[in-house]
């Protein structure tokens, strides 16, 4: 059985500044580094492998495990097109963005990736990783929206169930993959 430790990357400069990143990137803040260090310390099981999305913030986070880091672009955050680099405060004037935020099931992706596309690729990456490590503990560093979509998919629950579940920087979830069992935190 594969046990995943899924982590959101630590708080970044743009997280703090309230700017959307998507496929863009910014480095971890001091708080972000501390968040990750705390989570990494909770890991007591030896990890067979550590994976990260190709975004700098995920890579920076993943290297706190002090092991080889395997990059997978399928683990990236949702692509947010025109909104990337914009301030969340400014986007509150944007109806399309408000739908994405508050009514995701009604959101129709035009310039962004769709939740379906995101979920498919992240789930595919994790399936491949689980196949490679059928009896082991594996850490995977990914992103806020990607993680919520993934957790919804694993539990076969509607996205809405997880959507308003804010995931802090460095926060982890333990997932027994084949059993589709999820627990909050690293255990």
């Amino acid at each position: 059985m594969t046990t995943f430790y899924f982590l959101r990357h630590g708080e970044t400069v743009w997280n703090k500044e309230g700017k959307l990143q998507g496929w863009l990137d910014s480095p971890l803040t001091t708080t972000g580094c501390a968040q990750v260090q705390a989570t990494v310390q909770d890991v007591t099981q030896p990890l067979a492998a550590v994976y990260a999305s190709t975004s700098g913030r995920a890579i920076q986070t993943a290297h706190y495990f002090q092991q080889p880091v395997h990059l997978d672009e399928r683990l990236r955050e949702i692509y947010l097109g025109k909104w990337q680099g914009q301030s969340i405060a400014a986007l509150q004037q944007n109806d399309e963005y408000l739908t994405y935020c508050h009514d995701p099931t009604r959101y129709i992706a035009q310039h962004t990736e769709s939740f379906h596309e995101l979920t498919t690729r992240v789930y595919e990456a994790c399936t491949a990783i689980a196949a490679r490590h059928p009896h082991a503990y594996v850490a995977v560093v990914t992103h806020g929206v990607a993680l919520r979509c993934l957790l919804a998919r694993i539990t076969q629950q509607p996205l809405l169930t997880w959507w308003h579940n804010e995931i802090q920087g460095g926060q982890g979830y333990t997932v027994e993959w084949q059993q589709q069992r999820i627990r909050e935190g690293i255990q």
Binding site: P27, T54, G56, Q60, H63, P68, H70, L71, D72
Partner: protein, 351 residues
């Protein structure tokens, strides 16, 4: 956020929404501060004649000149529109395969590899100061890899790991059918006799004319490897990808032995001086053998911003894996610029 390359200081100020001072001293790139060899500048009008004809498709006269320079047959050389084109061609070679990168290292490898859907595995060196290789971890990862990239002398640290370590990696790689890409872009600042050119069938050496001869605008680099590898790379390259002026300038540069020796001596002297000063200020400083210095001050970000306000642009390391933005890199520049740099460092560290 901050631009991920050196050499464009105005982008740095723009990204930070800072007004650049009147005079800017750019330490963020590592091109020979003495500029292109004077003979090249003098001869430049003659190169105009080359414009109206197609360049030699094989890259002559530079191909033969560089093959002769390194004492290898021409069949073992592929030219590139900069070493950057070579890295692009290499990334295609490893498309959909696995490649091992030893970090911190030149960020462009990852960029080219990702564009070709290569699965990258990153390993951080055991010691940033010496770029000591994590041999055990490398041994564990190599069996899965199509290639391992080594930037030696290393960018951004300037360090050169122990030869026994490099040899160990080359041997292990051979055992697993893994290629070794060695980026020697900065070797000519150190010691050309230490090259891995023409030594092993599975080693691909990448070189560049850009740094030592100060011709980044001309775009000229090359790789030397086994004939089979070279042929495969050549097949992927566009026709006439190296222009006629680059070929002529590159050939002329190879005559400039005194120019190179002067550049090395100047860089060595100033690197030593700078390393000493930074150590005195309580910074960790890498064992650099190139024309730049990499160091860890108590607060890299604060120093970076302080320097910017004074018109001095250092190279941040936010996008170098394993450095966490806690280090800064300084390229050796002319004496006047160095004086300004020292004055700024004095002010910063005496506070």
């Amino acid at each position: 956020m901050l631009p991920s390359h050196g050499a464009n200081p105005h982008y740095v100020y723009e990204a930070l929404q800072m007004t650049p001072p009147q005079t800017i001293y750019d330490f963020s790139e590592n091109v020979n501060v003495f500029g292109p060899p004077p003979q090249i500048i003098k001869r430049f009008p003659q190169y105009v004649d080359l414009v109206k004809r197609y360049p030699d498709p094989l890259g002559e006269p530079f191909l033969s000149a560089i093959a002769h320079h390194h004492n290898v047959p021409r069949q073992q050389v592929v030219l590139g529109n900069g070493a950057s084109e070579i890295f692009s061609l290499l990334a295609r070679r490893y498309a959909n395969k696995n490649v091992l990168l030893i970090e911190p290292t030149f960020a462009e490898y990852a960029a080219t590899l990702q564009a070709n859907h290569v699965t990258i595995t990153q390993l951080i060196v055991t010691d940033v100061l010496t770029w000591e290789l994590p041999i055990t971890a490398i041994q564990e990862q190599l069996p899965h890899m199509a290639a391992i990239y080594l930037c030696i002398p290393n960018n951004p640290t300037g360090a050169y790991p122990a030869r026994e370590q490099i040899q160990a990696v080359i041997t292990m790689a051979a055992q697993h059918g893994c290629e070794v890409v060695i980026d020697e872009a900065f070797l000519d600042w150190y010691d050309d006799t230490k090259t891995y050119i023409h030594q092993f069938n599975h080693v691909i050496v990448v070189r560049s004319m850009t740094k030592m001869y100060a011709i980044p605008g001309i775009r000229l680099g090359y790789a030397i490897a086994h004939d089979n590898v070279i042929n495969a790379l050549k097949q992927q390259a566009p026709h006439w990808h190296v222009n006629a002026i680059a070929l002529a300038i590159g050939t002329a540069c190879l005559q400039e032995t005194q120019y190179v020796e002067q550049a090395r001596q100047y860089a060595r002297l100033h690197v030593q001086q700078l390393q000493k000063a930074l150590t005195t200020y309580g910074c960790k400083v890498t064992n650099s053998v190139t024309n730049y210095v990499c160091f860890k001050p108590p607060d890299a970000k604060a120093l970076f911003y302080f320097a910017l306000r004074e018109g001095i642009v250092l190279r941040h390391t936010e996008n170098f894996v394993g450095l966490n933005g806690e280090w800064l890199r300084i390229g050796i520049k002319d004496e006047q610029s160095m004086a300004k740099l020292y004055a700024m460092l004095d002010r910063w560290f005496q506070k």
